[in-house]
C-alpha cells in the first residue's frame, strides 16, 4: 500500500508537460505540482465523471499527454467509461486509479466488493492497450517512466492507504487555491485556446 502524496511526488518527476487531472489527489497535488497552469484540480464536480472528463480533454488535445488520477469509487459509478475510452483509443491518455478500497470522504465505508475487484482486469477486458498494478512505491517508481512512454490508453491501478475524512464537510479545510473557472481559464491560456471561440 502506498500513500497518495508519495505516489504523486514520484509522478511529478515524470509529468513533463502533461495536462494533469489530479481528481481526489488534488489536495496533495496542488502543493507538489510545479506546473499549475497545466493542472486541472477541479475537486469533485460530480462523482463518476473524472475518467470521461479526462477522455474529453485527451481527444481535444491529441498532441499532449493527459494524466488522470481517478479513484475506485468514482470509477465504479461509471464503469462503462472504460469501454468508451477503449473504443476511442486516445494514445495520449494515462489513467491512474487511486484505490483505497473505501469512500474516504464520507467516513471510510468500503466500496462494494472492495477487496476482490480487479480493476486492471476490468480495464484490460474493456480494451485498454496496457494495464498495470502496483501496491508498493518502489516498483511504481521503477516502472513509471516506461508506463508514460507507452502509447495509451494505459490503465494503472495503485493500491493506496485510505485517508479517511470524518469531519462534516463545512468543517474541512479547503485545499483548492483557485476557483474551477479560473483553473480552466489558466489551462486554456497556457494552451493558447481562445475562450471567445465558438462554443
Amino acid at each position: 500500500m502506498m500513500e497518495t502524496a508519495e505516489v504523486l511526488k514520484v509522478f511529478a518527476r515524470h509529468r513533463g508537460d502533461a495536462i494533469v487531472i489530479p481528481g481526489r489527489g488534488g489536495r496533495h497535488w496542488t502543493s507538489i505540482s510545479t506546473r499549475p497552469s497545466l493542472d486541472l484540480p477541479l475537486g469533485d464536480p460530480a462523482m463518476g465523471g473524472h475518467a470521461s472528463y479526462a477522455l474529453g480533454v485527451a481527444l481535444a488535445q491529441p498532441g499532449r499527454k493527459v494524466v488522470v488520477f481517478d479513484s475506485e469509487g468514482d470509477l465504479l459509478m461509471g464503469l462503462g467509461t472504460l469501454a468508451t475510452i477503449a473504443e476511442q483509443q486516445p494514445g495520449n491518455l494515462y489513467h491512474f486509479l487511486l484505490d483505497n478500497g473505501c469512500y474516504a470522504t464520507t467516513g471510510g465505508q468500503p466500496v462494494p466488493n472492495a477487496q476482490n475487484v480487479a480493476y486492471d482486469a476490468l480495464a484490460r477486458a474493456a480494451g485498454y492497450n496496457r494495464t498495470h498494478r502496483f501496491d508498493n512505491l518502489e516498483s511504481f517508481a521503477i516502472e513509471l517512466e516506461r508506463i508514460l512512454a507507452a502509447s495509451g490508453p494505459v490503465f494503472t491501478w495503485l493500491k493506496i492507504v485510505p485517508d479517511v475524512e470524518n469531519r462534516p464537510i463545512k468543517q474541512r479545510s479547503k485545499w483548492q487555491t483557485r476557483a474551477r473557472d479560473q483553473v480552466i481559464a489558466d489551462l486554456q491560456r497556457e494552451l493558447g485556446i481562445n475562450r471567445g471561440a465558438k462554443a
Binding site: P45, A46, G49, A60
Partner: protein, 172 residues
C-alpha cells in the same frame, strides 16, 4: 411527398446545424429512432462520435472536450437527460460549459396529452435546473439549433434543443 414527410425534421438539417456551429465531437447515446442521423454523423469527417454508456458520462466528457478547446454537442434522449442530473449540475453548469444538448423528446405530442412519463417530466426537469430550451419539430425549426448554440456561447451555460420529431423525422 406525404404530409408527414413534409413536416419532418431531416437528419441532414440537424447535421448541417452542427457543422454550421463548428461542432467537433458528438457525445451521444442513441435513442430509439436516430439511426439515420448516426449514419450521417459517422460519415461526416469533421465530427468525432464518442459513444457513452450512461448519459451522465456525456456531460463530463463534453466538459473535457470544451476544456481542451474543441466544441462538443450532447445527443441523448430525454430519459437519459433525467438520469444525468448530477452530471449536468456538476460538470456542465458547475464548470460553465457552453454546450448544446440535443434531446430526443420521447413521448411528446403536439397537443400536450401523452402517455409517456418521459415526456411529462422533461420540461419540468429542465426548469428545475434552469436550462433554457428550444423545441424543434421540423426543418423549418432547425435554425433554432443555431439559436441554442449562440445562447450557450453568450451565457456560458448548457442550452437544450428538444427534438419533438423523434418518431418520424429520423426514422426512414
Amino acid at each position: 411527398m406525404s404530409e408527414t414527410q413534409k413536416a419532418s425534421l431531416s437528419p441532414e438539417g440537424v447535421l448541417g446545424e452542427l457543422r454550421k456551429n463548428g461542432v467537433t465531437h458528438v457525445m451521444w447515446l442513441p435513442d430509439s429512432e436516430t439511426n439515420w442521423l448516426y449514419m450521417l454523423m459517422k460519415a461526416e469527417p469533421s465530427l468525432r462520435l464518442v459513444g457513452v454508456t450512461r448519459e451522465g458520462l456525456a456531460f463530463s466528457a463534453a466538459a473535457g472536450v470544451w476544456t481542451g478547446g474543441k466544441t462538443p454537442v450532447i445527443l441523448i434522449q430525454n430519459t437519459g437527460l433525467m438520469e444525468s442530473g448530477d452530471s449536468l449540475r456538476g460538470w456542465a453548469l458547475g464548470l460553465s460549459v457552453p454546450v448544446v444538448l440535443v434531446v430526443g423528446y420521447r413521448g411528446w405530442t403536439r397537443h400536450g396529452v401523452n402517455s409517456d412519463t418521459a415526456a411529462t417530466y422533461t420540461e419540468r426537469f429542465l426548469h428545475a435546473f434552469g436550462i433554457n430550451y428550444y423545441l424543434v419539430e421540423d426543418d423549418s425549426d432547425a435554425p433554432r439549433i443555431s439559436v441554442a448554440f449562440e445562447e450557450a456561447r453568450k451565457t456560458k451555460r448548457p442550452v437544450a434543443v428538444l427534438v419533438a420529431d423523434e418518431y418520424h423525422g429520423f426514422n426512414r
